[in-house]
């Protein structure tokens, strides 16, 4: 595995020649060996078209390419870091939560509106996540940031999981998401329980939830 959790807020990555890493710009804390950090104008993989896509989608968190041979320590803003290993499946995560990921993973931008129609768009607006999200596919590992640490909740076809949109971090597997509302008259008169919007995840996979309602 490329990433190793040193403590809850820091990961160590091993870089070898021919292996690339992408990381959020400015997230390097220290490094050993001969490692170069190149700002990645295109904000990730793919050509110019992917770059334009990301710009339009507002998923263009500045990334840098990490190459060479040595070890690099990553961490950012004192946030908790969780390493997620992917073996062929797809991880959906917000671009600004991405700390670092292996170059073997295929990065792309997904339009959430296509999943769940109009409510999908509303979802993005309500949760403050926008209409687009980043997906990472393939074999490799990803370091994701969250406020206050994350816990995993398994999703099975019999047991869909509902998540507070502000506490949602990432999900993987064959999962459909939709925004469900539990708006009642109480919410209209300002006596709501504060849980009017929920992100409903059904299918089979895992969702990562953080111990806080704070966005990064």
């Amino acid at each position: 595995m490329a990433f190793e959790e040193i403590n809850s807020k820091m990961v160590r990555a091993t870089v070898a020649p021919g292996q690339r890493l992408f990381s959020q710009r400015g997230a390097m804390l220290a490094y050993r060996g001969e490692v170069s950090f190149t700002p990645n104008l295109r904000g990730g993989q793919g050509g110019v078209m992917s770059m334009i896509g990301r710009r339009v989608a507002n998923e263009d968190t500045p990334l840098m390419t990490v190459e060479g041979s040595g070890t690099v320590f990553f961490g950012h803003g004192g946030h908790h870091v969780q390493v997620i290993n992917l073996s062929g499946d797809t991880l959906y995560v917000e671009a600004d939560r991405l700390l670092a990921f292996e170059g073997t993973l295929e990065q792309s931008t997904v339009f959430l509106g296509s999943q769940g129609g109009v409510m999908g768009m509303v979802r993005g607006q309500v949760s403050g996540q926008g209409l687009f999200t980043t997906s990472l596919k393939g074999h490799g590992s990803v370091a994701v940031m969250a406020h206050g640490g994350v816990f995993e909740v398994p999703i099975t076809p019999q047991r869909p999981v509902r998540v507070d949109p502000q506490a949602y971090v990432a999900h993987h597997g064959d999962v459909r998401n939709k925004l469900s509302t539990a708006l009642g008259w109480r919410d209209m008169v300002g006596r709501g329980s504060g849980e009017a919007f929920q992100l409903e995840l059904s299918g089979s996979g895992t969702v990562f939830v953080q111990a806080s309602e704070e966005k990064l």
Binding site: V153, P160, R162, D164, R186, G194, E195, A211, E213
Partner: protein, 235 residues
């Protein structure tokens, strides 16, 4: 928090059970910042908006602090107690967390827990909640003059900024705490407010510990390793 929490005078404190079996909703900690509650048709009270995820079927309804009924409503108006609580009812598991605060489980066997409203996370719906007057202490804590009380048999979860220590107070060993670090207390305790304001404080040369709360009697006090912004902290 797990094993070694010691009181200031070297007597070992007793920590309530982390996992507590009860005939109603079961509270368990997932890590130190997430509370998982398994429910089978019963209900819990929780801080408004503190749900982060759930499976199964749950319904959320807002309650208001200060106790039930008209009396509670009047109490709230007078006291300005700002605890907004929701009732969560259903089947399944519900996870609660709030701003990455550390969570402490407290088991109540008929006794009363006094907790700062901002530190309350969740409690069995069977526990009675109310408001109590704290005297002059509240003003120095920046929390108002009233705190929340929880009474009955069951489980409650309280939050602290950093892992809380549980300090035992007994007749021989009274305890004095910084108002900003105080989280909650339970048992048969008398509290009094101490002020160490001297002429030095007036000249801006105070030690930063001008106000303290003193607990006497027999019970437990929960103290967090952090201080809220208080008037007391400035002098």
């Amino acid at each position: 928090m797990d094993s070694g929490s010691f009181s200031a005078r070297g007597t070992c404190s007793v920590h309530p059970w982390r996992v507590y079996f009860h005939h109603v909703a079961m509270f368990r900690l997932q890590g130190s910042k997430v509370l998982a509650v398994d429910m089978t048709g019963d209900a819990v009270k929780a801080k408004n908006g503190s749900m982060v995820a759930y499976d199964g079927e749950m319904a959320f309804k807002k309650l208001s602090g200060g106790g039930e009924g008209i009396r509670g409503m009047v109490t709230r108006r007078i006291t300005g107690e700002q605890m907004t609580v929701m009732e969560v009812k259903g089947h399944g598991t519900c996870w609660f967390a709030d701003r990455a605060s550390e969570i402490n489980l407290v088991g109540l066997q008929g006794d009363k827990l006094y907790v700062e409203s901002s530190n309350f996370l969740a409690a069995d719906a069977g526990l009675r909640t109310g408001t109590s007057f704290t005297g002059t202490r509240g003003a120095s804590q920046g929390n108002g003059l009233f705190t929340t009380t929880i009474e009955g048999h069951g489980q409650a979860a309280i939050m602290s900024d950093g892992p809380a220590v549980v300090l035992r107070v007994s007749a021989q060993y009274p305890l004095t705490v910084d108002p900003g670090a105080y989280v909650a207390h339970q048992g048969n305790l008398r509290q009094s407010f101490q002020s160490g304001v001297t002429f030095r404080t007036l000249f801006g040369e105070g030690g930063g510990e001008a106000f303290q709360i003193r607990f006497e009697g027999d019970g437990l006090v929960y103290v967090q390793p952090s201080e809220r912004n208080t008037i007391a902290g400035d002098v």
